[in-house]
Amino acid sequence: MPLSRSLPAAAVREATLDNGLKVLIQEVHTAPLASVWCWYRVGSRDEAPGLTGISHWCEHMNFKGTRNIPRDEMKGIIERYGGSWNGYTWIDQTTYLETASTEALDRMLFLEAERMDASLYDPAECESERNVIISELKGGENDPEQLLDHELTTAAFAVHPYRQPTIGWLPDLERMTRDDLYAHYRRYYVPSNATLVIAGDVDPDDVLARVEHHFGGIAARPRPERHTAIEPEVRAERRVILRRAGTTAYWRAGFHAPALTDPAFLPLLCADAVLTGAGGLNIWSGHKVPPPQRSARLYRALVDRGLASSIAGSLLPTEQPFLYYVAATVAEGRTLREVEDVVLDELGRIARDGITDGELAKARAQLRARFVYDGDSVTDIAHQLGYFETIASWRVYHDLAGRLGDVTIDEVNDAVRRCFRPENRTIGWFEPHE
């Protein structure tokens, strides 16, 4: 079999406009495509009580017309080039993307510049979108796992706004006004609070000239400070029980976990690979490639033994300490108690005895493979650059593969001992009834 003949990773070109906009450009000449992502340092963690869900609602409004692009023309711009577009909001960030043929580059940059500075927030459109967002919320409530996730996350944090669901609480969605939305937009959508990422079949000098043309005229404004309460040290194990009509029981636990830039993050990521199979660090498209988990500890303890029909672990890269989740679907005829006993037994065992050299080697191999899979399109390459730059630095992601080799067994064992202390966990049960 020939040695792999893949291309070396191209260097990332960085620039900052006078108005503070950060620009990252990566050349990828394997397909005549370009992907543009514009990232803003605002997410649900920035939301004050009474205004939860505002960042996500602003995201919706930023697709509904700008000064130079009427609402019903926004969609045609990218479609003309066979492109796709989307956006998402989460706890630390809001982002918008387009991927299309390279000829669309100028239009994509124009679109993002308009979105940054000139969204209309037409009052009638805001009102109409209120119902769309409430429909999105209600659709999520149809899923018991999503309900349980919200309840669990809210209970796990006493103080930190990571506890708030990104979709927002229904009473806030029912009461927020157009003025609230517009003020949030004007405050956070400023060049110094944004990172623009372009990956694809592009020439960086040409890209920068176009970026300057479209964004250079946007007024500089101070980057808003992010005030976030600090979660105090946990002292008590917490539990939530959701009882509703349903057919299947779900078990979920959240453990306070290190932030991306904490030295314990990578060791805990290795531990997650040992427990549930490596899931990678691409929250946009990682779900498309299921983790290699058939030999993982929790899979063998639960799924092979018929206690759970599925098991998943999730340690996501966040700016501040978030949660490590473990989730199981209870198999027909088995109980939440049985599943919980086995999971806690396994977590107690890993905290007590640590992992083996063989397991660490396997975790490294899995994570190295994931870093390859997580960058197999210009969209994903651009996503990873922008995602990590927004919460830390794009270099952190690029360095991770190299740092994998340095992770020691002791570091992993320290990380799991700390993570799986009983007082560090919040456990959630979804108990269905007829």
Partner: protein, 419 residues
């Protein structure tokens, strides 16, 4: 930039398709067996689904544990599933690991051993998945629509089966299904990525060496009788927060000459932008739904054209009326020249983006091979789309969309229309 796949047929009839893609040092491999739930014996719905769950649980020469260790230690991802017409094994791995991973992917298709204790564990898994769907309004709406729309056609059967039918399946049933349908001439293997095509053919060929068996019985899918009347089925699920609507018609086969016109029509109807005409009306103008779209399931048989939406119970009737209005307008007036041109341009322009990853390339070529569309389909698609006319789009809309005989299911906190 066309794909330029290579195609090779082994002596035993297995087809191997390879595409080089050196953008990353990884590979997507898709093994397809031309048998799925359509081949479930009468009363044994869910056989293919359960067979799929057992394939990786042991073979004649490998234990489940050794398969798990081999795949996991390399960080390879292995996904197995059964659809209506095909059972698929999808593997993603680093290029250097293909010599180890490919033989496993092929062995589990060729020689699964169906260990008895594994049958029970995986049956419970499948029963859990069926139970989960019982609590999912989207699944309940789609199932109810399909059962009514294909009342006198095999497509009414559920791919996963029912709790009752799956409970009855025996190990012998699974072995028989495998023996009857998993044969080399029903096998297509697509490998895309950082490969040397000749080496891949050798690798696959040696794994399938000496595997000969009789061709399976040929299977045809009959036409589906068209409903004679409109039906509205309520599936009350009063514990849910929102309803799911499935509003459908019998569609057409992938090989139908009208397919490409239907593809364009469907894009304008329920996809372009934020859900085409349906999205513009129901989400954008009326703010009633977070999602509304239409999908065309054109396969060996005439799968459905389905419109889906998630709406509050108070908005169900208005949503159905809005769908009726939009469909009727299209049937009477056709789509505008601008809409047809925009959809054609979008679909043609999206081809390079849709064929960027190995998994996407493998899936595309598998479909092209299964339906005999030619492995240069990606290069020909822009020309095919350019040839679709406004008149053809209007004609296929008149052929497929008929609100007075639509089959509609609504699942969720809604008990039916107020009398």
């Amino acid at each position: 930039m066309p794909l330029f796949p290579n195609r090779h047929v082994l002596g035993n009839g297995a087809t191997i398709i390879t595409v080089e893609n050196h953008t990353t040092p990884s590979i997507g491999m898709l093994v397809g067996v031309r048998a799925g739930s359509y081949q479930d014996p009468p009363g044994a719905d869910g056989t293919a689904a359960l067979v799929a769950r057992l394939l990786d649980r042991g073979t004649a020469t490998r234990t489940a544990a050794s398969i798990a260790d081999e795949v996991d230690s390399r960080g390879a991802s292995l996904t197995i599933g059964a659809g209506r017409h095909q059972t698929s094994v999808s593997a993603i791995c680093l290029a250097d690991d293909l010599p180890a991973v490919a033989p496993i992917a092929l062995d589990i298709v060729r020689s699964p051993s169906f260990p008895a204790e594994e049958v029970e564990t995986r049956r419970a898994e499948l029963l859990t998945a069926i139970a989960q769907e019982e609590d999912d309004p989207a699944a309940r709406a789609t199932d109810a629509m399909m059962e009514a729309l294909y009342e006198k056609h095999p497509y009414k059967r559920r791919v996963r089966g029912t709790a009752a039918s799956v409970a009855r399946l025996s190990r012998a049933d699974l072995q028989a299904f495998h023996g009857n349908w998993f044969t080399p001439c029903a096998l297509t293997i697509v490998v895309a990525g950082d490969i040397d095509p000749a080496a891949v053919v050798d690798l696959v060929g040696s794994s399938l060496d000496a595997w000969t068996s009789a061709p399976p019985p040929s299977v045809t899918v009959p036409d589906a009788p068209l409903p004679g009347e409109r039906r509205l089925i309520a599936v009350p699920m009063m514990n849910k927060a929102q309803t799911d609507v499935a509003y459908g018609f019998v569609g057409l086969r992938r090989t139908d000459p009208d397919y490409y016109a239907a593809w364009v029509m469907n894009n304008a109807l329920g996809h372009f932008g934020l859900g085409g005409r349906l999205g513009e009306s129901i989400r954008e103008r009326q703010g009633m739904a977070y999602y509304v779209f239409s999908s065309l399931d054109a396969t060996f048989g005439p799968g459905p054209l389905t419109i889906r939406a998630g709406v509050a119970p108070a908005n169900v009737e208005r949503t159905l009326a809005s769908i009726d209005v939009e469909l009727t307008r299209i049937v009477v007036e056709g789509l505008t020249s601008t809409e047809v041109a925009e959809s054609k341009q979008y679909l043609a322009g999206s081809i390079p983006r849709q064929l960027e990853t190995n998994a996407a390339i493998a899936s595309f070529l598998m479909s092209a091979e299964l339906f005999g569309l030619g492995l240069d389909l990606d290069a020909r698609l822009p020309g095919i789309l350019a040839g679709v006319t406004d008149a053809q789009v209007h004609a296929v809309a008149r052929r497929l969309l008929h609100p007075p005989t639509a089959t509609i299911a609504v699942a969720g906190p809604w008990r039916g229309t107020t009398p």
